[in-house]
Amino acid sequence: MKKIATGNKAVAEAVKQAGPTVVAAYPITPQTEIVEQIAEFVTSGQMPAKYIAVESEHSAMAACIGASITGIRTFTATSSHGLLYMHEMTNWAAGARLPIVMANVNRSLGPGWNIWAEHTDALQERDTGGLQVYVSTVQEAYDATLMAFRIAEHNNVLLPVMINLDGFLLSHIMQPVDTVELGDFIPAIHLPHAIDPKHPAGYGTLTGPDQQFKFRWEIERSMRDSVKVIEETEKEFAKRFGRKYGFTEDYRCDDAEVIIIALGTLGKEAEVAVDLLRNEGIKAGSMRIRWLRPFPKLNLKGKEVVVIDRDYSFGFGGIVANEIKAKTGASLYSVIAGIGGQEVTYDDIAGFVRTRRMGEEFWFGVNAHV
């Protein structure tokens, strides 16, 4: 059924349909509407789940871990400082091989006290062992949330999945969303290492230097296996519900000489910039990265690449740009734009491409265009 919803409401609707048994969360702007809506679903009887209103995000993830290890479906949502407050526990969730699904509404980090979009929060989580997907429309937020449960709980994966949506730009925008009859798209959860409270056993005893690396390798092996699971899940989703997704969303890339790469809503707005540039005779394309973990295989041979990072690693550079450089060796122009909700229009994006200086870094609003 087609209706108008915000990104937050669409995520909450998808969570309701996926039917977690436990949701533990703490409110934070601009995510609050997700857990508010879920709490409303639970109290009105539309969602037969236990909602745990915890005292912090660290506790939210800890509660999800405790619930998940009993073999049930769990969900939480957060933003920014909330996510970083969870950080110790997000590592634990992945290490304990728990398929916890989380929505993160991307927001800048203080100070200054800023509630607007930035990806540095989620990107600081990229080494935890959790999967990360970045979405660009309300429809995609809904679809990706549904798929996240199936991917996380697949027994070849058993890792947390985080759905990322841009604060305000996507969390609060209202767009059409076509909801689906889910049917058996998400199979019943089966956690092979679930604990049974009726038959207590000891866990978490000391893991020695002869064992720990094996557990870490197992995370990586599942991360690699998740590529196939993601592909299969997205294929099955397209078959059942008609909407296609992939590791990247490519727009006019085939004959492109210069490719724009960005995450989230900037990656969608970049498509408008591509059309503008094409009209000027510049053969541009847009490759919006959706899955950042596992990192996609990108074919950028012979292309110039303009990467827009709504994030930064101080003393190093744009995080996405440097990941692409490391994986592909591509020649690229690194643009830092959109930090803390900084306004970036399709005209601005087209400007980045027109004035690109390969191999250099450009801070939008700080450095002058040449």
Partner: protein, 175 residues
Amino acid sequence: MFEIRIHSRGGQGGVTAARLLAMAALHDGKYATACPFYGAERRGAPIVSFVRIDDKPIKVYSQIRQPDMVVVLDESVMDVVDVLHGLKKGGRVFLNSANKKVFEGFECHNVDVTGIALRENLVVAGSPILNTPVLGALAKMGIITADSAKKAIREMFSDERNVKAAEAAYKEMNA
């Protein structure tokens, strides 16, 4: 793409008006996005919300700089905000007012939406509801169809007075 900026004060329902407009456009078979100005909203403070309507999916997230139309739900914001800022040449203005105003170079319309809301007793917590009747005026201006406007209102509100108020605005509109 048709871009609309709605001026109101926090609590007057400007964001809901944007939502209703997007819902009605969807019923018309179009694509639409609606969003508040991205920030913290305070009751009584001048706020803006935005609506984009197009025949194809909308990929733009940056703010509307050159709207095709502005809707002013509260005349008093005009004392503190330049509501015509960036409005395209020949662009359209809808004013919630009993008095006709002329802005040189723009197409101006007005209806006393507040008066209609009060007459229909559409009042919540002492404030007249403006977002449903204004939809009738916008339907008369051809932004959405009247049928879709009514459908959107009924989806969101069970009180039929909302539809009656929209119909009254449609009739009173000096199209």
